[in-house]
């Protein structure tokens, strides 16, 4: 695929061929009996990153995280953290701490003792422990709750204790398993930003497992999308959203309209595709490496499509249909349009003005169009 | 065993012990144990498994091998009162004498057959009665309000913690000719002659049902308490009357509880000894009591062992079913 987007290589270590990755996962496979949970995954993660493993349930993301923590051993493959092979290192000797999905707070210990537990295992001096626990309590704003036991805390407070307990040992890597999964929606949004702030403040490398795409988008420096034990795409949130490399990723992140078609013209700077589903020639301003006649898919995000009553100029990327359904969401409206080809397309438009009388309505004939740069060709 | 065999065997043992004591034998043993444990796939945490495992192997499983072995021996007046199966003959061959006479004896004497079948009958009927009494109790407990539930549960468990023997004994005072029931009935003039209840099959049924009732109630209660009430609400919402909802929802879902409870009553009841011994009459034949008498009264260990094997053969399937159930419950708990 041709380079279609420019990125700033100076700021992003993953685009710098000379940068050394902090965590190297090499050809890791994990099998449970006949079931392959993680299938030949290789992944480099750099220092200070907030990396998200994103995928549906059973995609292997949690198994991968547990292998990093040392609770599972890879069937095949190696994991290096800061250039040390983790193969023979037990969980209790790894420079890695984990925040569990269930928080896994020790029910019989106070907040203070929960946080101090890890430091006590390292036989730190008592004064040092007291100081660091106090600092941590400060950081997660739980100082008044130091003497409480876990069952005396609310969900959000427990989440912060779990975070503090995992961070207090200053691990090289912090693993977070669905860190916001147990919180309600509003609290989750607040906590997302808090988590990013804490990551920036402490400088610890975070690896977050989540199934929530919006969470992954807001939190991470990069996302690794997993499916059936494999990493199907790695990239920044923008890359993943705007340039998905497969129908799976395009469909998994956000919503998308996909038209099946055949390549009829493939030049370095553009590609032209014929699609019965779209009902018009599709023109995309980046080249692909495929032979003419190959079957491909073109993905267009709903918000990238324009609706208009008048026919726009040109033939490419321009089709017609009838509005079938309208869902008013407040900030935007979702239109479902049935194209004349029978294909249903989803279009979103922001409601910029209040109470317009000139809105598109049910059963209206409507033209759909998008720019050549707003669609992506997918080979799989 | 012949003298010659003794001597050769003795020599070998001496030689072997010498060898061991010459080497640093303790280290040797440690290495062996380690090799053995590693062979068995045990390291570190493996010891956690190994200790209870070996204990149960030695004191629970292996003893059955001895029961089997002695059931094939002959009774003699000696200490211990049975013959050896394996003997060293003059020319150092091993002579194995298997004696199935004990089993033939059990088959021929209809006393054993009667006891065997009667035990099954008594256990089956008692299980049914326990279910009949226990199910409504467990059901009402599970449907009672939560504050009451714990009190009722405690009331079911309390007798279980008091002496089983003494609770059986209590029935003697109630059932005997000048016992509580007869005294009351006589005092009210309902009967003129005391009803004979002690030393009858009836007394045995009462004793077994009474003693094992908590074993029926507890698994049933645990099952019924878990039943999601919204299922019944959904059934009612869909137009199902309460009685019908009970038979089409509650009862089918409580089958695991019924099976677990029934097995917990049936299996031990088959081999019950104390209850028939205290409440039953001389003609109340139950196989557990027969075993006891063979062992303690007749001192015929081989026949007692053969009886034990016969009971085990009968119970092996129910016991395995029970284990499958327990394992499933445990798995469900984990998930």
């Amino acid at each position: 695929m041709a380079e279609a987007h420019e990125v700033d290589k100076r700021l992003d270590p993953w685009n710098d061929p000379h940068a050394t990755p902090y965590i190297r996962i090499q050809n890791v496979t994990k099998k449970f009996g006949d079931f392959t949970a993680v299938n030949n995954v290789s992944l480099d993660i750099y220092k200070n990153e907030l990396f998200c493993l994103l995928g549906g349930s059973g995609c292997g993301k949690s198994t991968l995280l547990r292998m990093l923590a040392g609770f599972e051993t890879p069937t095949v493959g190696t994991i290096y953290i800061d250039d040390v092979d983790m193969g023979s290192i037990a969980p209790y000797d790894r420079p890695v701490n984990m925040m569990f999905q269930s928080y896994a707070l020790f029910p019989h210990m106070t907040v203070e003792n929960n946080i101090a537990f890890g430091l006590k295992q390292d036989k730190e001096p008592a004064a040092e422990i007291t100081k660091r626990v106090a600092d941590m309590l400060e950081l997660v704003q739980l100082t008044p709750f130091a003497k409480r036991k876990p069952h005396q805390l609310s969900g959000g407070q427990r989440q912060r204790v779990a975070l503090a307990r995992a961070l207090v040992k200053k691990p090289k890597v912090l693993l977070l398993d669905e860190p916001l999964g147990a919180l309600d929606k509003k609290l989750r949004e607040e906590t997302q930003f808090e988590l990013v702030n804490i990551q920036e403040e402490t400088g610890v490398t975070f690896i977050v497992v989540t199934h929530d795409q919006s969470e992954a988008m807001t939190l991470s420096s990069r996302i690794g999308v997993m499916n059936e034990g494999q990493i199907v795409q790695t990239g920044t949130p923008t890359e993943i959203y705007e340039y998905p490399n497969s129908r799976f990723v395009a469909d998994f992140i956000g919503s998308v309209n996909i038209f099946e078609g055949r390549i009829i013209e493939d030049d370095p700077d553009h590609v032209r595709i014929e699609s019965d589903e779209a009902g018009c020639p599709l023109y995309i301003d980046h080249g692909v490496t495929a032979s003419p006649g190959a079957r491909v898919w073109v993905a267009v995000r709903p918000e990238k499509i324009q609706l208009s009553r008048d026919k726009p100029n040109g033939e490419d990327n321009c089709t017609i249909g009838t509005i079938e359904e309208i869902a008013y969401m407040g900030d935007l409206s979702i239109y479902r349009v049935e194209l004349d080809t029978g294909k249903r397309v989803r279009v979103t438009m922001p409601n910029l003005v209040r109470g317009t009388s000139d809105r598109y309505t049910w059963d209206e004939r409507i033209h759909l169009s998008w720019q050549a740069s707003n669609a992506v060709v997918l080979m799989t | 065993m012949s003298r010659k065999a003794y001597i050769t065997l003795g020599d070998r043992i001496t030689a072997a012990t010498d060898l061991v004591s010459q080497s640093s034998w303790w280290g040797q043993i440690q290495t062996w144990v380690e090799v053995l444990l590693t062979r068995l796939g045990l390291r570190g945490q493996g010891l956690v498994v190994a200790i209870p495992y070996l204990w149960l192997l030695l004191f629970f499983l292996i003893p059955f091998a001895f029961v089997l072995k002695i059931s094939l021996a002959e009774a003699v007046i000696a200490r211990p009162p049975y013959t050896a199966l394996i003997e060293w003959t003059e020319d150092a061959f091993i002579d194995i004498k298997l004696n199935i006479a004990n089993y033939l004896f059990l088959l021929q004497d209809d006393l054993y057959w009667k006891a065997y079948l009667n035990s099954v009958k008594v256990a089956l009927i008692s299980t049914a009665v326990c279910l009949f009494i226990g199910y409504p109790m467990a059901y009402s407990m599970a449907r009672a309000n939560p504050a009451w539930r714990n009190v009722l549960l405690m009331l079911v468990i309390l007798p279980f913690w008091t002496s089983f023997l003494l609770r059986v004994y209590a029935w003697i005072g109630i059932l005997k000719n000048n016992g509580v029931i007869n005294n009351i009935l006589l005092a009210f003039g309902i009967i003129d002659e005391p009803i004979v209840m002690m030393q009858t099959n009836f007394a045995v049924y009462v004793g077994i049902v009474y003693s094992y009732l908590p074993f029926m109630i507890l698994p049933l209660y645990a099952n019924l308490e878990r039943l999601d009430n919204t299922l019944l609400e959904a059934a009612a919402d869909l137009g199902c009357r309460p009685i019908k909802a009970f038979f089409s929802i509650t009862l089918p879902l409580s089958i695991p509880g019924i099976i677990a409870g029934s097995l917990l009553v049936f299996i031990p009841a088959v081999g019950e000894f104390v209850i028939p011994a205290l409440l039953g009459g001389p003609d109340t034949l139950m196989i557990g009591r027969v075993l006891w008498d063979e062992f303690f009264a007749n001192r015929d260990w081989p026949v007692a062992s053969a009886v034990a094997i016969a009971i085990l053969l009968l119970l092996i399937i129910p016991i395995m079913v029970f284990q499958r159930f327990q394992a499933k419950e445990a798995e469900a708990g984990t998930a």
């Binding site: 209790y92 | 204990w55 149960l56 002496s163 209590a170 284990q323 445990a330």
Partner: protein, 280 residues
């Protein structure tokens, strides 16, 4: 709620509990009977309690039984905890099925069979290695540990299954070695189960007649064995007195346990409400 139906349920419950408790009540009432005939009332008296306390044979047997029960309970809890831990936490190790079998079978195995098989083992062991020398307290204790530990294992296993395994993983992750995790995290969390396992083992040992009869030797008659030999000959008011004392002890114990549990539960709920309120 249907009135007939709840009446039916309540009467079922009442009948059931009457059936469970009337025998126990009658034991208690007649323990205060003046007459030796036990069931023929002849006035209130506590003389049988005095007789009981002067009965050397019963007192000795009781003391022996209590000693065995205490040792048994301690060993059974230790071994049963290991077994329960292995079953709940160590995944699919080799021989797991057999261990599960050996842990569940003693719960239902008829006592006469367990008793006989253990006796034959002890006799054979004495022949082979000279230990245990004869039958007595040691053999009774071993026998009791064997079936008690099975109960403990089941209790511990089910308790551990309900404890989130990631709590232990968190401790590992924070640098504690497995043995330390067990003592610092696992044991405190399952402490209530350990206590109930101990008490259950104690009670069952104290209660066992059949197995002890098989594996006991001369001079090691436990309390149930003495009681059995007495009640076989008919009712005896001293035994009623003994039963009353046992029932009383158990009832007091269970009531205290129940009240404590109830209180803890209430405090827990209050704490939780407080936490929710504090958060808003």
């Amino acid at each position: 709620m249907n009135k007939n139906r709840s009446m039916f349920l309540i009467s079922g419950l009442a009948f059931g509990f009457a059936f469970l408790y009337i025998p126990i009540l009658s034991l208690i009432i007649f323990s205060f009977n003046e007459s030796k005939l036990v069931t023929v009332w002849a006035g209130f008296s506590t003389k049988w309690y005095g007789e009981l306390l002067r009965n050397e044979q019963i007192l000795d047997a009781a003391w022996l039984s209590i000693r065995i029960a205490v040792i048994n309970a301690c060993f059974a809890v230790a071994l049963g905890t290991l077994a329960g831990f292995a079953l709940a936490r160590l995944g699919r190790f080799r021989g797991r099925t057999l261990l599960t079998g050996m842990v569940t079978a003693p719960l239902v195995m008829p006592e006469v069979i367990t008793g006989l098989s253990l006796l034959l083992l002890f006799v054979a062991m004495q022949d082979l290695i000279g230990w245990p020398a004869g039958r007595g307290v040691t053999t009774i204790t071993i026998a009791h540990i064997t079936f008690s530990m099975a109960y403990v294992a089941i209790i511990i296993q089910s308790r551990l299954s309900s404890v989130d395994e990631s709590v232990e993983e968190a401790a590992l992750d924070l640098g504690a070695r497995p043995a330390k995790v067990f003592f610092l995290i696992t044991l405190p969390i399952i402490a209530p189960a350990l206590i109930s396992g101990w008490l259950l083992s104690f009670t069952m040992s104290l209660d066992d007649l059949v197995i002890a009869s098989f594996v006991s030797g001369p001079g090691s008659s436990t309390l149930p064995m003495v009681v059995f030999s007495k009640v076989r000959l008919g009712v005896s008011p001293e035994i009623n007195a003994l039963a009353t004392i046992i029932v009383l002890l158990v009832a007091v114990g269970i009531t205290i346990a129940g009240i404590t549990l109830n209180r803890q539960e209430k405090r827990r709920q209050r704490d939780m409400q407080m936490a929710v309120a504090a958060n808003e």
